[in-house]
Symmetry: D2
Subunit: 232 residues, 4 copies
């Protein structure tokens, strides 16, 4: 109940990458705010972690809700030193019948959400001239495939936001980075294959932690990550 520690916040939090990254940040001394839409889900995941995890249910597409969630994390856990944006939709289809509303929804979650979240944490970090903001991208951030209107287009848009923020905020002491995941993450949807052909969440979390801990003389803005046998 005494002092506040420093904190982190993860948007688009879920089991797998989100949970493993949060655990890695806790091991590094941070308390972690978990931002996602379903409060039930967040509570279930956070429960075993006691005071280290703080669920802040919010819709990442709602600027006021995101602002409130970020403020709550700062007030409750302390200044945010590391913010991670993972939210995305994954919609596929032909241009011939892709519903415009779905195209919009994918952008709203995956790109607008990143802008809104990035803005909310950047405003606070800039005042302290310190902090890391990590955006999660994908191979689709670099290449528009035949049916990827609902995934690639938001990922391109998000990558642009990450670049602009890095160029604007780097000289103000904020490390903005963009991780291109090229592979599937082991989990319920992608059961372990036994040959490391998929990302292990706890190993991927080490990449995020490494980026957060890079000293300011040596910042990475963009890197790709893939399992050894992934074709690229």
């Amino acid at each position: 109940m005494t002092g506040k520690s420093d904190s982190a916040i993860i948007a688009g939090f879920g089991r797998g990458l989100g949970e493993s990254t949060a655990e890695a940040l806790v091991r590094d001394g941070l308390k972690v705010g978990l931002l996602a839409r379903s409060s039930e889900n967040l509570d279930r995941i956070a429960a075993p972690h006691g005071g280290n995890f703080l669920p802040v249910p919010a819709d990442v597409t709602d600027p006021e809700a995101v602002e409130a969630a970020v403020e709550k994390v700062e007030q409750t856990l302390g200044p945010i030193k590391c913010a991670i944006f993972n939210a995305k939709q994954f919609l596929k289809g032909s241009i011939l019948d892709f519903p415009p509303g779905e195209f919009e929804r994918a952008w709203r979650v995956g790109a607008f959400g990143g802008f809104v979240f990035g803005q909310a944490v950047a405003k606070r970090m800039v005042a302290r001239e310190e902090g890391t903001i990590i955006f999660t991208g994908a191979t689709a951030s670099l290449r528009g495939n035949p049916t990827s209107y609902g995934f690639s287009s938001p990922k391109f848009a998000l990558r642009s936001v990450a670049q602009s923020m890095a160029r604007e905020l780097g000289p103000r002491g904020i490390h903005v980075t963009h991780v291109i995941l090229d592979g599937a993450i082991e989990g319920p949807k992608h059961p372990a294959t036994g040959n490391d052909a998929q990302f292990k969440p706890e190993e991927l979390a080490e990449v995020y932690l490494h980026l957060h801990k890079q000293p300011r003389s040596t910042w990475t803005h963009e890197l790709d990550v893939r399992p050894w046998c992934e074709k690229f």
Copy 2:
């Protein structure tokens, strides 16, 4: 009054690039539908061109309006063989106070509009296995600069749509191409400098016409264009 010719349609039509491109397409034998929001503006530009230009006022961010405009061009002028998307917003600002609503507006005009327009023309072209769709990009399509949240992010998103459409529709006979303009277009905002340091609309129009006329054994998907002395 008799037979219909083939047609073209330009979205985000205005004086300068739009007008010059439309004139080039007319010289090549097409009648041209002009799509933009302001009907007054369209009427004034179209008037001197008689039956060759058809104003179809519509908001490019409204799928039903775009569908109706595209249908009207096909019914009135004949099958669309060439569709050009120029619409954009150009908003600059810091991430620290960039209004989310402006970020959304820029995407809605520059990226969602391109998706909606591309979809409306692609559906018709695919049935005929023929047609050219040209998206206008910018240097900001490739690089997110410090204050370009409201320009670069939609341009990245649009480029992804152009890539996905090219990969999906190329094998179905539709030529989808993405032009990266790196420079200013001569006009009221950028008066002629006398040394060709800016795009001349009528010369830029020749690039668009060349792309439209490329035979299917020799299609360009992406090219840049810049004045000779533009730094890059």
Copy 3:
């Protein structure tokens, strides 16, 4: 026998792309110097074209021979307005047993040759503040595939030279451009398939001619070209 016209020069000249491009340049009013190693081959191709083609046999990897060939074209045919570099080797193999000498040979023809040729023509064009230099690239200019040490590495190196030359010489009036060919060229090695699935040399030549004729307000530095059904 009287006056000299303007001229062009094509290095890495052969049947197919080279011959078609030369014919297109002749139709545009230029006389064309043909640079390749085998004088016998050059003579046979040039013979039917009378005074419009001038064989200048030279090894593109030999700076003095290239300098002499370029000088001969200027003395005989007139100032070079357009220079095209097509030379390449195409070697594949595993890193585990790729002969270093072959790796070097591929670079010497495909990259060093481009540098040497580009230098020889640039020196002359700069004095006149006018001219076009076109380098032929490939998909391998952008992507290193598993066995492409002997093709992709020189193509990357050549692309860098083209970029540096464009940035140095553009402001001095020289148009430097890089064409990324993504597909096979119809010819003895790739017989016509009847469905335009390969480049037709005479249509590809139009792309080169279009680039040469771009006015200086509207220069393309890089573009890709591929047949309609080529996967990319």
Copy 4:
């Protein structure tokens, strides 16, 4: 004199990045072979490090010398688990008078050397299905600037080799990675500025070590690194 440990090898070794990386690898349990041309220089740097550093003077442009040096490291220090290639020349100048021999020399050290070195270590690693190969690139690996013929062109060529090797050898258990350094390294040429505006060798070394230690489910092929205030 007893057992052999595992080893590493650094080509293009010098004070600064080379020395710091070697020290980091030693802390991680590897003995390190140092490959550079000047044996005197190598001896002086290695002396204080006792048996942990093994000078293997060799010219990286000489395939037989590189093969012998790599063999000596394996025989003396044990199987190479990590190989780093830093060698480069840095030559600037205009295309109008850039000596072809200098252009060749820059390629021979910076690209051919990387190919030769990569081949020598890859052959050994493949048999053991294990190992990391790191190539050091630069901003010039991605962009050809006006005077960078002698730096950018070899860096492009080297990047292609790194990509081809990653795609060929990844599925065989070898991690090939390409580090894009965008900034100056603190040292005699670039004295410390006191504000972390330059790479600190010992911090850069941590990036290399992190890459070497990535588990095979989570490999980075390419990343950039720059000081916080470096413009990009």
